[in-house]
Subunit: 310 residues, 2 copies
């Protein structure tokens, strides 16, 4: 290896001698023997072909070359210290960035709370949220563009074996009605009641819509028989539409917690229909997992888990 003319240890010794004014004191400071100090300085002088110290006097004094070298030495060692600190901060989660991917629904309704909690616990780690389709989120995790993904929908099958999937909660797909709707008086509905309603839905392209349709179909509902009043392009728009009495809708409970609490929307149970979807954290096991990412999974996710364990 085309060698560097000095080592960090040599610079450290140089600095110590300059500070202490003596080889011996420098040796004590560094917890090595004094000959080791002599040898290293001799090597340094040989390698750089300069004289660094005027020895022999009461003190070891720097020559001009030594002074010049010392200046660089200080700067270099400072940088090294800084580098160490930066790495330590990263290790202790006092720095760094966590990049999270999320789908529309989780990104809008879940992530703000999750990120809030995370930042509360690790205020020095910056968090970046990228909201994309479930599919794209999956690929981003796969190729390492993001640290982890929080999704609701189903991943493309080719990604399912590649990524590590951690279900942590179920999000119920709830039927919501305008407060003043005639069926709002009822606590319990049955499947058949649904066919009497007009629905406001997401437009038929969106992943969430597909997930919803899939889930409803799987629960034995004939979605063709459901009457679609209008299609909108955001859950927020749908919520407003429902609140304005324009129709019923199936919405993820995570997205209507506020409205349920304030009673502006009604959510009756349906005895013979349980429409749930799994909320999952996805990570890439074949890639480096940052400390921040691990901390998210370990410290934040459990607080949103609807399962007992952990």
């Amino acid at each position: 290896m085309p060698e560097l003319p000095f080592t960090l240890d040599q610079l450290r010794i140089l600095k110590a001698i300059a500070e202490q004014g003596s080889f011996k004191k420098a040796a004590n400071l560094l917890f090595i023997t004094q000959p080791a100090v002599s040898l290293q300085i001799q090597n340094l002088e040989k390698q750089l072909n300069i004289t660094i110290f005027d020895r022999g006097g009461r003190k070891a004094l720097l020559t001009e070359a030594g002074q010049i070298l010392l200046e660089y030495c200080q700067r270099i060692l400072n940088q090294c210290d800084e580098a160490c600190k930066a790495v330590e901060d990263l290790n202790s989660l006092k720095g760094g960035t966590l990049i999270i991917g999320a789908s529309q629904t989780t990104g809008t309704y879940l992530m703000p709370r999750m990120i809030g909690l995370f930042r509360q616990k690790y205020p020095d780690v910056s968090v970046q949220l990228q909201v994309h389709s479930t599919r794209r989120t999956g690929w981003s995790v796969a190729n390492g563009q993001i640290d982890l993904g929080i999704i609701g929908g189903q991943l493309p099958p080719e990604l399912e074996n590649l990524l590590h999937i951690t279900p942590y909660a179920t999000d119920e797909l709830a039927l919501v009605l305008p407060s003043k709707h005639r069926l709002s008086k009822e606590k319990e509905l049955v499947k058949e009641d649904l066919y009497t309603l007009s629905f406001v839905t997401l437009d038929s392209q969106s992943t969430t819509r597909k997930v919803v349709d899939e889930l409803l179909k799987n629960s034995g509902l004939d979605i063709q028989r459901l009457k679609i009043e209008m299609e909108l392009n955001s859950l927020e728009a749908i919520k407003n539409a429902v609140q304005s009495g324009l129709g019923a809708a199936f919405l993820p409970v995570v997205s209507i917690e506020r409205e349920l609490a304030s009673g502006t929307i009604h959510k009756p149970s349906i005895t013979d229909l349980g429409v749930k979807r799994e909320l999952k954290l996805i990570t890439n096991p074949s890639r480096y997992t940052s400390k921040a990412s691990k901390a998210f999974k370990k410290d934040i996710l459990p607080q949103f888990s609807s399962f007992k364990n952990k």
Copy 2:
């Protein structure tokens, strides 16, 4: 020794991998084998407790921690390179400072030419001239505040054994007369003529004056019999006084070369008086001698030497 968490070699390897995108290419670049690269990076990761590279893909990609570390790495290695260059420049006399001490006379009349020559030859070495008494110059050389001294007078005896003294020329103490002085017609004077003249001298405190008096006394001149017309505080002032016809003076020839050449001052020889003083370079043999100092002694001094050798 309380160990540093990394070595410069490791940083160099890190940088090479980041640049080349591959452990193998980095190994080739550094003329070491690939396992050596792997091992060093593993050590680095272990010591810092971070993962630096995402291996396994087509390329070795930096993790976040790796990127942060790389930034410091670059800065550190740049500083190292700079330090090397500074030291090299110092070695090849493309940098550094030469500090010269001189007494009044040499400092005023000799050093400008000497320094001019030196700077011509080594334009990148800066030169600092400190003009003090011979005595103080000697002490400065002794304690290393200046690299070398160029003096005319006699050193204090306690310094004579401590310092290395290199006589390189003799400076004649010449009698000078106004051009229109009655004695200016004569080519040769005798000692006795001096007692008929009025003299302009340096004030009686100055070292040079003392040296002059000493020299004249030693040449058998009764300095009490000399008539002092006035005392001035600089050779330049004395020169002007002489040129204005105010009197005669003893001046070092080095200080009146221009005036002799232009004929504004007359310098008759005195057959039975040879008043010479040694010009000497003094250095401190027990101290580090800078390259610049050696170069001065070797390359510049001989051009001012009145001796044959060298």
